[in-house]
């Protein structure tokens, strides 16, 4: 029975009716820290540990290897195409879905999440079925010497598919919460569509946009499953960084594989930091409304 007769006990030492006992708290915190450290932190640490396990020399040698550099170039190229395309899509989709009401709107909102629900392997499969040797358009294209599957265009397509929701998902809730009043005000003041967009909307959504772009980019550079299906795994030509990691790994060049992996891990950390910052600024914007 809680009850302590000492009269000058500070109130903070008493437990509120809505708080757990200190023992329970300690146990739960320990469980959480242990679980998170085991499942989340350790793998990350392993990447770096393994990358340097054979010494810094191998690390740098791998990174300067011709095929690694090709892989890095390809990854950057794919991201440079996919991210802007998907950003445009995200902006267009967010504008049409949050500024207007029309039949089929909620269906479209659900469909935008599609790649998140579907295995990335399917994301590659569908393009093989269209552009591959037995696909719809494949044979026709091959007659004209245009290769999509097992070539860069296929990789770009698969990456675009897998990452197109991210910018839209970053923008839609934000624009929905912000409402249309400012845009409507601009309209009454004589602004046309582009002016409204650039002068009114973009400044409001810039942090949400950045958040979406960061996630889109992270996923675009790191995509493995979908790209694995459409790529020919041809070194120097159709290998992105994740695929290159796979090749090195399968050849037992573990330190090399982890060296490349550590670059992507650094990208992941940068993504986390930038994303958190952008999220925080976007939430601040919303609060200031």
């Amino acid at each position: 029975m809680a009850g302590n007769i000492s009269l000058s006990h500070p109130a903070s030492a008493l437990r509120l009716a809505t708080a757990e006992s200190p023992v329970a708290r300690a146990v739960l915190i320990t469980i959480t820290t242990g679980f998170f450290a085991l499942f989340l932190l350790l793998p990350l640490a392993v990447v770096f540990q393994q990358a340097f396990s054979k010494g810094a020399e191998i690390f740098f040698k791998t990174l300067q290897d011709r095929y690694t550099l090709d892989a890095i170039r390809l990854t950057l190229l794919v991201a440079a195409i996919a991210v802007p395309l998907n950003t445009l899509f995200g902006l267009a989709a967010a504008w049409s879905l949050t500024r207007f009401r029309f039949p089929g709107r909620s269906l479209l909102v659900t469909l935008i999440d599609l790649p998140l629900w579907v295995s990335p392997v399917i994301g590659g499969l569908i393009y093989v079925l269209v552009f591959g040797a037995q696909g719809w358009v494949g044979p026709w294209l091959m007659e004209r010497d245009v290769r999509v599957i097992f070539a860069v265009p296929g990789i770009v397509l698969a990456t675009v598919f897998v990452t197109f929701p991210f910018v839209a998902r970053g923008l839609i809730p934000l624009m929905q919460a912000q409402g249309v009043s400012e845009e409507e005000a601009a309209l009454t003041l004589g602004a046309n569509g582009w002016q409204i967009f650039w002068r009114v909307t973009v400044p409001k959504i810039k942090w949400g946009l950045l958040y979406g772009v960061i996630l889109c980019n992270a996923r675009a550079m790191g995509e493995f499953g979908a790209v694995s299906v459409v790529s020919g795994h041809i070194r120097g030509k159709t290998n992105t960084m994740p695929l290159h990691i796979e090749i090195l790994y399968n050849e037992y060049q573990f330190a090399g594989a982890f060296a490349v992996a550590s670059l992507l891990a650094l990208l992941a950390l940068a993504t986390l930091i930038l994303k958190t910052y952008a999220e925080w600024r976007a939430a601040q914007n919303l609060r200031d409304l």
Binding site: A17, T18, R25, L28, T32, T33, F35, F36, F39, L40, L41, L42, P43, L44, V46, V47, F89, A92, A93, W95, F100, L108, T110, L116, W117, V118, S119, P120, I122, L125, V128, L129, V130, Q134, W136, F161, F164, L187, N192, G193, F197, A218, G222, E223, F224, G225, S228, V229, P242, L243, I245, Y249, F254, F258, A261, A268, L269, L272, I273, K275
Partner: protein, 277 residues
């Protein structure tokens, strides 16, 4: 673009919706219809043969079954984690909160080889467990670990805002009615959070079922034992069995669809219960 549309005051409806739809058709609808058509074109018999082949069925158990276990474990520890992160203050809390998103940000291949290295018998945790005869890498246990890794953020991030929005007067009311902390948790807090928990677990499950990169390294890919269904799709493609691959893709798509329905159903159940219609 300065013309005001007939139905919509704000401009840009035609342009933006047009771009969105065209993009969508090109990137999503047309390729997906290729999937359906290819599945159909293979004929019913080939379809059935493919999706019920013993090796394929074994992969269903691996993909769908282990994903389920991983999702449940994520449900438990994700719940505790979300609670701790929202309700308690302690040193390192912010870092813990930030790394929850790691499985989102880290490329799957990187996670895959890292987990394999960590749990392989010659190093790290795998080495620690060897004397006890516990093998993780290249077994189903390894697949379980990988799927738990990638599913954790879904549960934690779905629950956190819900826990934050829990009205404190519910807990105070329970206390005034004589409930101790444990009773309050079981009878008041947990039921209120149940829908969010189920949603998070469903999301984690959906992601785990389709996962490829994080799993394929640590799995070992032994037929009938540690093969996941996405891998079989790739295998079929490599054998030029396009309609077989499409068939399996169709099965996975159907499963994803049901998981999506389930998740939406949970949302509307929760909304109804709260009187939001």
């Amino acid at each position: 673009m300065g013309r005001i549309g007939r139905r919509h005051a704000l401009p840009g409806f035609g342009l933006t919706l047009g771009y969105t739809t065209v993009y969508f058709c090109l990137i999503v609808l047309i390729p997906f219809s290729a999937l359906f058509l290819k599945t159909a074109s293979g004929g019913w018999e080939h379809f059935w043969e493919t999706v019920t082949a013993p090796r394929v069925v074994a992969s269903y158990w691996v993909s769908f079954g282990i994903s389920f276990l991983a999702a449940v474990v994520n449900g438990v520890f994700g719940f505790i984690g979300a609670w701790v992160l929202v309700r308690y203050r302690f040193p390192g809390r912010r870092i813990l909160d930030a790394i929850v998103d790691l499985p989102f940000a880290l490329p799957t291949a990187v996670a895959g080889i890292a987990l394999t290295a960590l749990y392989a018998p010659n190093d790290g945790i795998g080495e620690l467990l060897k004397p006890y005869g516990i093998k993780v890498a290249f077994t189903q246990l390894g697949i379980f670990v990988a799927l738990t890794f990638i599913g954790l953020p879904f549960v934690v991030r779905t629950l956190q805002p819900m826990i934050q929005n829990l009205s404190e007067d519910l807990e105070e009311a329970a206390a005034c009615l004589g409930a101790n902390r444990w009773n309050t948790f079981w009878r008041v807090i947990f039921p209120a959070l149940m829908p969010a928990l189920l949603t998070g677990v469903t999301l984690a499950y959906g992601r785990a079922v389709g996962e490829y990169g994080s799993v394929v390294f640590i799995a070992g890919n032994l037929p009938f034992k540690t093969e996941i269904t996405p891998l079989l799709i790739i295998t079929k493609l490599e054998q030029y069995d396009y309609s077989g691959a499409a068939a399996l893709g169709f099965v996975m798509l159907t499963a994803s669809f049901f998981v999506l329905l389930l998740s939406n159903g949970l949302q509307s159940w929760d909304n109804k219960r709260k009187g939001l219609g």
